[in-house]
């Protein structure tokens, strides 16, 4: 296996009630690349993310992260290897402040949390990295606000800050621009662009603008399988990909995705 | 082994199980559909028994008493739903537990204020008060057989209601996906009220069934309701089938424990200690069963995934 492969997925199978959601998927993600996964609805992208993060365990196949088999590793242990994820539907802790949310993310990285005495929120070892991550996503002024009432766009930013705060090798971004307006969306894309090259990013995304702007390589999934993997230009030209999008020209698909 | 005794005890267990099912079926429906924890379900059991006792004593007829006590209990169920329960569906379980805990206090005290502290007897017609012979040696109280038959009939009726009627379809849909039911244009408020009242009537019926055996007494529902909760948790919340199987299981375990555990205990402890420990340990058995089942299947035997 290539030295630069950070995440290897081999012959992954998962079915729910007889229907295969992942059907023999094989995919390699290279070190420091932005690897986008696209595909029509029901292609099995969400199930893939769930299996990579350990929320759902595969029926068969193998997931290898930096040479280590993590196929059946519990979800909570994967972040310690340097994996982090964001959620398709915003997943933050609503009744805590923005800073506390990010502090938790830092804390997760900083060894065990069986420390019962010192206050966490005034601990510089936690708050400094947290504030750095918040500054990175442009949310530093909201640090003391309770997270729940913030806007959707701010929630997505916070989500990203929590991912960054764990300083991961591999970031799994599940539709980071979902539900965003054009302006927020553009800001998110430029924010992700600034991360490019510093970490490996797996980007599951519907917004083709974002995908083609960010991705080094793209994998197209259909019916639980990868039908094509390659640079954006290769994918644009791929025949199978065009068929997958029901004969539509991929560029039309991009356009229609943009309008919805 | 005394087979006659064993048979009689199995019947006793079945009878207790049936009674538990009457209570648990309503509880599990209310739970499954409204996600509502109703500790006061046992109070409706008590109310049913008291209504039946008073009406039977006034009208000098158990049947009339039973017939009139059912709608009377339903009215109480409607009132409870309207005044308290309805406002709590959107709240969390903690609020349910507390409010219905308060309802228990209210019901127990009101009952004592109205009926006094004495238990109320429910006289049975003579033909129900005797015994029936099953085979040569086995003789069981007629009334207990009547409870079994009534309970089975109600269970069958409930099964038909849930699987074969429009209301039942809505109930099933509600149990699996509440949002979907409201999306289908069903009047959720009305559906909830109906389910709550069905549960109330079933609980009341259970109280009326046990009344002629134990009398209607204050707080009679407070212990059995906990057992009924154990039943629905074992069976899996929202599952009528699970409630039925678990109720029979728990009924049998309870009676068998009370019948045979002391004999077992006497093999390795003094008779005096065995007599004391056996009833307590047999009461413990059903909780142990529950813990074991939840340890293996955290959502019960027939429970929905991921609850």
């Amino acid at each position: 296996m290539d030295e630069s492969v950070i995440l290897g997925i081999k012959d992954l199978y998962k079915s729910f009630g007889g229907v295969a959601a992942t059907n023999g998927l094989t995919l390699d993600v290279l070190e420091r690349e932005v690897h986008a996964v696209i595909g029509p609805n029901g292609a099995g992208k969400t199930t893939l993310v769930s299996q990579l993060t350990g929320v759902v365990l595969p029926d068969a196949g193998q997931v290898v992260f930096r040479g280590r088999d993590i196929t059946r590793m519990p979800a909570y242990r994967r972040p310690h290897l340097g994996m982090a994820r964001s959620f398709q539907i915003t997943s933050i802790i609503h009744d805590m402040t923005v800073l506390e949310n990010v502090v938790l993310a830092v804390q997760a990285k900083a060894g065990h949390s069986y420390r019962f005495w010192e206050s966490a929120i005034i601990d510089d070892q936690l708050t400094e990295p947290a504030m750095r991550a918040l500054t990175q996503v442009g949310l530093e002024t909201e640090a003391m606000q309770v997270a729940g009432p913030l806007s959707h766009g701010e929630h997505r930013q916070l989500e990203l800050a929590m991912v960054l705060a764990t300083d991961p090798e591999l970031v799994l971004l599940d539709e980071p621009t979902a539900g965003m307006g054009r302006e927020d969306s553009t800001r998110m894309v430029s924010m992700l662009e600034s991360l490019k090259g510093s970490r490996t990013i797996i980007l599951v995304e519907h917004d083709m603008d974002a995908v083609f702007a960010l991705a080094d390589r793209i994998t197209v999934m259909v019916e639980g399988r990868a039908i094509a993997t390659g640079t954006p230009d290769v994918i644009r030209a791929d025949r199978l990909v065009r068929e997958a999008y029901l004969g539509e020209d991929i560029n039309t698909a991009i356009k229609s995705a943009r309008e919805t | 082994m005394d087979w006659t005794l064993l048979t009689v005890q199995l019947l006793n267990g079945l009878q207790f199980g049936i009674l538990l099912f009457l209570l648990a079926s309503g509880l599990t429906l209310i739970f499954g559909i409204m996600d509502f924890v109703n500790l006061a379900h046992g109070s409706l059991y008590m109310v049913g028994a008291f209504f039946c006792a008073t009406l039977t004593q006034w009208l000098d007829s158990f049947w009339l008493g039973l017939l009139l006590a059912l709608p009377a209990t339903a009215v109480v169920g409607v009132l409870v739903e309207l005044i308290v329960v309805r406002h709590l569906y959107e709240r969390d379980h903690l609020d349910h537990v507390l409010a219905t805990f308060g309802l228990i206090l209210v019901f127990d005290t009101l009952t004592q204020m109205i009926w006094g502290p004495d238990g109320q007897v429910i006289p049975l017609p003579a033909w129900l008060d005797g015994q029936v012979s099953l085979g040569d040696a086995i003789e069981v109280p007629t009334y207990r057989v009547a409870i079994i038959l009534t309970g089975l009939a109600v269970a069958f009726g409930l099964f038909i209601l849930v699987t074969r009627t429009r209301l039942g379809m809505q109930i099933r849909a509600g149990a699996s996906n509440r949002k979907m039911v409201s999306a289908l244009g069903v009047n959720i408020g009305l559906l909830f009220s109906i389910v709550f009242v069905i549960g109330a009537v079933l609980a009341g019926l259970a109280g009326m069934m046990i009344g002629p055996i134990t009398e209607a007494s204050i707080g009679m529902g407070n212990q059995i309701i906990i057992v009924a909760f154990v039943v629905i948790v074992i069976g899996g919340i929202g599952s009528i089938k699970g409630a039925f199987i678990a109720a029979i299981l728990v009924g049998l375990i309870d009676i068998m424990g009370r019948s045979y555990l002391d004999v077992l205990f006497k093999m390795f402890m003094s008779a005096q200690n065995a007599e004391t420990s056996a009833p307590a340990v047999s009461a413990m058995l059903i909780y142990i069963l529950m813990a074991v089942i939840l340890a293996v299947r955290p959502s019960g035997l027939f429970g929905p995934r991921g609850r």
């Binding site: 972040p79 010192e118 | 209210v106 307590a280």
Partner: protein
């Protein structure tokens, strides 16, 4: 010193009143107030410990009274064998409670929602029946604790005022302890898991284990309260572990306000005062009590703590 909010004032006034109560009692000779206040303070400790899991962790335990019972029996049983050393009593109470919490927590914390409520209750009922079944320690009749725990010559619990101050100082200590825990890294994880458990796991927290530790701490603290209760009542029966007692503890917490440090103390206080006053003047006081409970749930979300101007939840 910065200016105090209404909440702060109430907290201060209640604590000062509790601290000075024995002086008032010795001036007026109304010993019964000391009895009442001791009970209040002990149950406040139990409520505060319950709040650690219920309020901060959203683990609705319906079996917390079991720890009160375990703690009290940890005094009663050694005394029955004429072991009077209080350090041994407290040690047994805390260790056995923690062990019980650990073992039952392994099962309970796998479940969610109503199943959690019911299985915590089931375990408390098991302890209830276990003590009912032990003839040696009085079974259903309970056990009279003839002598209170001994702590050397300096602290004589047989003196009611000393017992009261031991309880009061314990309450202060445990409040401080929980304050530290809640703001610590550990407390952050527990509160994070309350808000969004899936997220906490994806961040890399083994929430099950953190919750288990929290559950054990709460159990141990309540066991400590139980040991005080056993000393106070000089009597222990399985009845103390009945599910209705656990319900009362929950009520105290909710009445005072969940996820606030001092709320459960106020809740326990109001609960005991109401119980005492109402039961003194009307046989059917539980009617009023029940209605009050329902009204609190329906209309007073957030409990006393929110009446004093705190937002319910943060």
């Amino acid at each position: 010193m910065k200016s105090l909010t209404l909440r702060g004032w109430v907290t201060l006034v209640v604590l000062v009143a509790l601290a000075l109560l024995p002086v008032f009692v010795s001036m007026t000779g109304r010993e019964f107030f000391l009895v009442l206040a001791t009970r209040l303070v002990i149950l406040a400790i139990a409520a505060v410990s319950l709040n650690l899991i219920l309020g901060y962790g959203r683990m609705i335990s319906f079996g917390h009274a079991a720890y009160l019972g375990i703690g009290a029996y940890a005094v009663g049983i050694p005394v029955y064998y004429e072991i009077y050393n209080g350090f041994i009593h407290i040690g047994i109470a805390v260790v056995v409670s923690a062990a019980f919490a650990f073992l039952t927590g392994l099962v309970c914390l796998r479940t969610r929602g109503v199943n959690f409520i019911m299985i915590t209750m089931a375990f408390s009922m098991m302890v209830f029946f276990a003590f009912v079944s032990i003839e040696e320690y009085g079974g259903d009749d309970g056990l009279v604790i003839e002598v209170r725990s001994e702590f050397g010559q300096w602290v004589n619990l047989e003196n009611d005022t000393v017992l009261y101050y031991v309880c009061f100082v314990s309450l202060l200590g445990i409040l401080y302890l929980i304050r530290r825990i809640v703001h610590s890294r550990f407390g952050m994880v527990i509160q994070g898991a309350r808000g969004n458990e899936a997220r906490m796991q994806s961040l890399g927290f083994d929430t099950f284990r953190y919750r288990l530790v929290c559950y054990v701490i709460a159990g141990a603290l309540c066991g400590y309260a139980g040991a005080l209760l056993g000393n106070f009542t000089s009597f222990i029966s399985p009845e103390m572990m009945d599910w209705t007692r656990s319900g009362e503890l929950i009520f105290m917490v909710v009445l005072g306000g969940t996820s606030s440090l001092f709320g459960p103390v106020l809740g326990a206080g109001l609960f005991i005062l109401l119980e005492e006053i109402l039961s003194g003047f009307w046989l059917y006081w539980q009617l009023i009590f029940g209605i009050f409970l329902i009204l609190v749930v329906l209309f007073a979300k957030g409990g006393i703590d929110s009446w004093l101007g705190r937002r319910p939840e943060r």
